[in-house]
């Protein structure tokens, strides 16, 4: 039994480590309706394109909350650079929406989407 455990424990440990390391893509996927980053970004693109600033204002809060939720899950398998860039993009986007700056908001939205795609992959 002891001999079996000596082999089993390292194998199980390695499998757990592998799962943590490559879980980024899986953990990015939405687990509920309020943590779907990709959908939040595409909804925001639509709202900004239609210049529906009030709707965009509400959606950006949803995006911020969703990002906070997802960040906790993906932080172990993602690079700090992409995480920080996406956080900054969301902050800039908030400012652009507040200023009703359509080109600026669209630029930030597409940049945020690109960082989201690169995150953990």
């Amino acid at each position: 039994m002891r001999r079996f455990l000596i082999y089993l424990i390292p194998i199980v440990a390695m499998l757990i480590f592998l799962l943590i390391m490559i879980s980024g893509d899986f953990l990015k996927k939405p687990f509920s309706t309020d943590d779907d980053i990709a959908e939040s970004i595409s909804d925001l693109i639509e709202a900004v394109n239609n210049e529906a600033w009030e709707e965009a204002d509400n959606k950006i809060i949803g995006l911020e909350l969703a990002w906070k939720k997802v960040l906790f899950r993906v932080q172990f398998s993602s690079e700090r650079g992409e995480i920080n860039e996406l956080t900054t993009s969301i902050a800039r986007l908030k400012g652009a929406i507040m200023a009703k700056d359509k080109p600026g908001a669209l630029m930030e939205l597409y940049e945020a989407y690109s960082h989201w795609n690169d995150l953990g992959s």
Partner: protein
Amino acid sequence: MNEGLVVVVRAIISFFSLLILTKILGKEQISQLTFFDYILGITIGSIASEATVDLSSRIWPHFVGLLSWAILAYLMQYITLKWRYLAKVIEGEPVIVIMNGKIMDNVLKKMKFRVSDILELLRNQGVFDPNEVDYAILEANGSLSVLKKSEYLPLTPKDMNIEVKPTGISTELVYDGKLIIENLTQMNKDEKWLMNQLKKYGIKDVSEVFLVTLNDAGSLYVDKYDDNIKKIKDIGDYKGPY
């Protein structure tokens, strides 16, 4: 992002991955390592440390790097075990640096060793006069094996035709005040015998002793917790903080 927490998780992954990989690679002792093994160890360790604290990239590529180096090292070990010629090329081979008491200066030049290095290695072996050396061999791991001239070899009981009992290896009977029954049975002794022996040292209970060992020749080593040494010798050459 909680950087501290991420570093802790990454440290756990790197630490245990390194432990598992080094166990698979073997090489139990540092003294067995060749120069290449040494560099290999440093590189693998360096990758593991980067995997822990370099948060600018994911841990996965670091882990792949760690695994690749470990697999290559394992393959190299396997090839050198199977193919002796390649083992000689990669790991080097022992060379005679002193033969019949003469230093082989050409060999030293080839090995990029100075005479002072050889003298230092000789001193490490307890040889302070090169005159005493018959053969000295520089091993692949950089250590020096020395064969002294017959006249400088230590006298053994065999030289004196004295018969000696084999001492064998010592077996622990008591460790940290606790009796190890299995070892006592293995040495064909019982608790009563041990207590009789300990009484000779003024010991009434096993909890009074730190270590008791017995060798095959029947010689007992007893170390009590109470060492009864009034003045402890200080070997320090400068007054430190303790």
